[in-house]
Symmetry: C2
Subunit: 172 residues, 2 copies
DNA sequence: GTTGACATGTTATACTGTAACGCTATATCC
DNA sequence: GGATATAGCGTTACAGTATAACATGTCAAC
């Protein structure tokens, strides 16, 4: 099983990966400490796995890597850590892919929106812009109170658009 | 297994159910005919099931009802019909619930947005408003081309907000 | 009435997610 | 330090969701 160095980048543009991962981990430690939450070994390693791989991983992919590090090898081990991290706003769940990805700017309140390339499987966390407000407005007209939201779009990233028609593997 | 008359209404406000279902079926026939697509028996019945039940149904729930009508009793029968209807814009998939619901206004181009009550499980298709534009704008900044989108919010509908704290069953 | 394309029926299996139980580690209180 | 309470982890077992692959049937065009 190959490592994931060759996998598509999380954002569509290149950037300082090590730095953004390190920053995210540091912020995670701080924000958990402030909230009185415990970043245990499994949770820390799970977050690291997502930060390192730098793309959306399925729960069972995460589990495989936890197993390789000597942690429990049953699904709940991964799911519990992922759910905890999601509740803490450190990880996002991408329902379209049945996958999880590390949050690139934890701490900031945001209704995460994801852009998923169907050709190269890259996933980018989109700038929120007026999205949150627009969703809130839609909910308001029905007097609905939003607690959590999922916003995901499937399409083509700039790179795959450029090579459109060539050897890309589709998601459907 | 009880019928679904007591299930939460699709929209949060009462309305003329028979009429909206009938309209939707009529529009479905027209739009499929124009596109040269075939509304076969299974597909038609599947759409009817979703329109009648008037809430989000899992694929296996749809399958149960198809079986009761004498259709094939294996998952692909339901999944194929549902996928076809989704491609045609007649059905929406609600990923948060692993469920499907009939589109309430097929034909109109729209980025469907769903409001899901975690207490009573009602699902409403939210007015699009500026949502589509906001999502498009977010994608534009990354030069991403959107082909399909999933927008779902979990929270409390007006009725469940009113009875907050009383006997409601949570989704989580 | 044969051909070809599309749709359905069916088998089998893969993938995703969770309930429940017992043990261990950590924190707290005395 | 030792008792107690709580949260987290490991494990078993299973439930729920989805799809690949192939066989059969149906329909329209020629």
């Amino acid at each position: 099983m190959p490592d994931d160095h060759s996998d598509p980048d999380l954002a569509f543009a290149p950037h300082d990966h090590a730095r953004c991962a390190g920053d995210a981990m540091a912020r995670a430690e701080t924000s958990l400490a402030l909230g009185g939450q415990r970043l245990t070994a499994v949770r820390r390693r799970t977050l690291q796995i997502l930060l390192e791989s730098h793309r959306a991983l399925g729960a069972y992919e995460v589990l495989d890597r936890l197993v390789a590090d000597g942690y429990g090898n049953q699904p709940p081990v991964a799911y519990r850590a992922l759910e905890f991290l999601e509740e803490q706003g450190l990880v996002h769940r991408i329902r379209r892919l049945n996958a999880f990805t590390a949050c690139m700017h934890p701490g900031e309140v945001h209704a995460p929106a994801f852009l998923i390339c169907r050709a190269c499987h890259a996933v980018a966390e989109a700038p929120a812009g007026t999205l949150g407000a627009a969703l809130q407005a839609a909910a308001d007209t029905l007097h609905f109170t939003i607690e959590r939201s999922t916003i995901e779009a499937v399409g083509l990233c700039p790179a795959c658009k450029a090579t459109a028609g060539t050897a890309t593997r589709g998601i459907a």
